[in-house]
């Protein structure tokens, strides 16, 4: 098992003829992801990396049975692309696009909820179930099949941590980059629930950062619902208030959303917080040892 993506994923690449879409379609295919189609309005009938291109998502779904879609279109068109996928019956949409306006995402989340579509992102690196499906821009070679679930608001920090896990013999079930925007699709709580229900996942790493109170909510959820061990790391302890730290969502507003509050919440929920990323493998091993003893 695993969560969200696996061998049964039939991936559609929206914006496959663009620079990023084309490049990453190639990389994902190389990794072994089952890419069945791409879309680009007006370019239906072409092929990119041997993948058939359709004018509309609806066409692509009808012809190929695509069930998951990844979006590489520019920010101004990302909301419409997500909605097109949702109305065409796609189950899971991964939006890589960075810079999507918040109001667009508020509307989009409300609409796709009605349609029963799941969304990851936008402004996210995607997700991977090692050896089964890479759906995103993550560097496939650092991942290793295993039993650790990891989710994160950040990209390269995820790679840093995954690399340490892999080097310490801790493979991953599914790694999910939920994205750095303030209003995004699936978030900690939903994904924690999936990890909890996934027989292959034995422990979870939650990488948070400043801004919002999703980590606090996750801590509460963990305390109440999770039987599997969770360890965490929070980036941005030294970030000043009022400044956006790269990610649109990484901002301490009106004194709320600080790393301190988040760390306190995790402590309360008995979730160890690593002081630096390199502590994570050790904390995990400790927790796993306890869990099996």
């Amino acid at each position: 098992m695993s969560i969200l993506v696996n061998k049964d994923t039939k991936l559609l690449v929206q914006g496959i003829t663009g620079r990023d879409g084309q490049f990453h379609a190639g990389r994902m295919k190389e990794y072994g992801t089952n890419i069945v189609a791409g879309t680009s309005p007006g370019k239906g009938g072409q092929e990119v990396n041997g993948i058939p291109v359709f004018d509309t998502v609806s066409d692509a779904v009808k012809k190929t049975g695509a069930n998951t879609s990844i979006i590489f279109v520019p920010a101004a068109f990302a909301a419409d692309a997500i909605l097109e996928a949702s109305y065409a019956g796609i189950d899971l949409v991964i939006a890589i696009s960075e810079g999507v306006p918040i109001q667009d995402m508020i509307r989009v989340n409300s609409i796709i909820k009605q349609n029963g579509t799941k969304l990851i992102g936008p402004n996210c690196p995607g997700l991977i179930t090692p050896d089964e499906a890479l759906v995103g821009i993550l560097p496939g070679m650092i991942f290793k099949k295993g039993n650790i679930g990891l989710m994160s608001r950040s990209g390269t920090l995820t790679y840093e941590v995954v690399n340490m896990l892999t080097m310490n013999g801790l493979g991953q079930s599914t790694v999910v980059g939920i994205g750095g925007d303030p209003v995004a699709g699936l978030y900690y709580q939903e994904i924690l629930e999936m990890y909890e229900n996934d027989p292959e996942t034995e422990a979870v790493v939650l990488i948070g950062e400043i801004g919002g109170d999703a980590e606090e909510q996750a801590a509460e959820y963990i305390a109440q619902h999770m039987t599997k061990p969770v360890v965490s790391f929070i980036a941005g302890q030294t970030a000043p208030p009022g400044k956006r730290m790269g990610h649109a969502g990484a901002i301490i507003s009106s004194g709320a959303g600080t790393a301190e509050e988040k760390i306190k919440a995790f402590a309360k929920a008995n979730v160890p917080v690593a002081k630096e990323p390199s502590e994570i493998p050790g904390l995990l091993k400790e927790k796993l040892a306890k869990a099996t003893s």
Binding site: I102, I142, L157, A235, M245, S278
Partner: protein, 380 residues
């Protein structure tokens, strides 16, 4: 993006919110001239992009022209939290019976625009939120439906307890919602919303922030941007594809990825150093970005050591190395640098750097420690 109070007031007016008349003045002379337009009491208000101007003496009541001029003389040029006051707004004063708070924000948890309203207006809403959260009425607004009449009226009734006033206030809330959505705001607040003894309602002070990601479709709003020196640097970096925030420390950081960049800052602090900035060069492999980033770093006079921390995913470490070599060649700075390259093409990158003699390390912890050492060596 933040804007001045006078800009917020103009946006409020455009959407039909009740805002007292005002005149923006850049000098004492302009204030003197402006007073011809006012018969009664005015308020002279410093226009600065920072909170707390009231406590700092940046807001003064004036009964007549003499008082207004004297107030303007005191306020213009005043320093408020490091910012110099260059403009004042002269505005009609209104009699206050009671002050309320009405604001809208994007709520991450409900994924909606959320209305917040309180009968405790005129003070910082964050204080109210901390001390007496039960006095703030919150209503998540369905993005597909908007703020319905009865919903706005119910919230307004909780504030005013009188249906006639509540109807007026409800319309104000609905207009505020409309402008919030149409201008891609992240905050739009009226604080205070004032009830006068003769039962008029006025929006006395307005604050608006905007979604940077939406500025491409908000030309009118973007034209209101007024950045200070640090912000200009940030905007300049943004245009080059970099994300930069200046801090007060002395160790410059160059990192790929926002989360890793924050973690890098944190680690410097953890080992006893002080980061000089947040700098994310993003996911591309363009060597020019490294040159641009290096330029920004050394233009900060406080920086006396640089830590470069790259985890190659899409970014290729050899590209970063090439950019760095180019940058060192152009820039000719003697600020010491420590480099950590890991991930995609790290070996190639490290091989390229060998010729430069730059110290390289394997992990980010080592890099942080080395950077602190370098910065201290520099100091002594």
């Amino acid at each position: 993006m933040k804007i001045h109070e006078f800009h917020s007031r103009n946006i409020f007016r455009k959407y039909g919110l009740p805002v007292p008349n005002d005149v923006l003045c850049h000098s004492v002379e302009e204030v003197e001239k402006a007073m011809a337009k006012f018969d009664d009491m005015v308020v002279v208000k410093a226009q600065v992009l920072v909170g707390g101007r009231g406590k700092a003496g940046g807001v003064k009541l004036a009964k007549n022209k003499e008082e207004a001029v004297s107030a303007a003389r005191k306020i213009l040029g005043m320093d408020i939290k490091g910012l110099t006051v260059e403009k004042v707004l002269v505005t009609e004063a209104v009699d206050i019976e009671k002050e309320f708070y009405v604001g809208l924000i994007n709520d991450r948890n409900t994924k909606t625009v959320t209305l917040m309203a309180s009968a405790e207006g005129g003070v910082e809403i964050e204080e109210v939120a901390k001390e007496t959260p039960e006095l703030i009425h919150k209503l998540p607004i369905d993005p597909l439906i908007g703020l319905l009449d009865f919903q706005a009226r119910e919230v307004a009734m909780k504030l005013f307890g009188n249906v006639k006033l509540a109807r007026k206030a409800a319309v104000i809330m609905q207009k505020l919602y409309q402008l919030f959505v149409e201008t891609d705001s992240t905050i739009a607040e009226i604080n205070p919303l004032v009830l006068t003894p003769d039962h008029k309602i006025w929006a006395i002070d307005g604050k608006m922030n905007f979604d940077d990601n939406a500025l491409y479709r908000q030309a009118e709003i973007e034209a209101m941007r007024e950045a200070d020196e640090d912000e200009l640097k940030e905007i300049d970096a943004h245009e080059k594809g970099l994300s930069y925030v200046k801090l007060d420390g002395n160790i410059g950081c160059m990192v790929n990825g926002a989360g890793l960049a924050m973690a890098t800052m944190d680690m410097i602090k953890l080992y006893g150093g002080e980061p000089a900035n947040f700098l994310d060069i993003g996911g591309s492999s363009n060597p020019q970005k490294v040159v641009d980033a290096m330029n920004i770093l050394i233009s900060d006079k406080n920086v006396n050591a640089v830590m470069i921390n790259i985890f190659g995913g899409i970014t290729r470490c050899d590209d970063v190395a090439r950019g760095l070599i180019k940058a060192l060649d152009i820039i000719k700075s003697d600020i010491p640098i420590v480099v950590r390259l890991s991930g995609t093409n790290a070996e190639e990158g490290l091989a390229l750097l060998k010729e430069t003699g730059l110290p390289t390390v394997e992990t980010m912890s080592e890099a942080a420690k080395k950077a602190i050492e370098l910065s201290q060596g520099q100091k002594s």
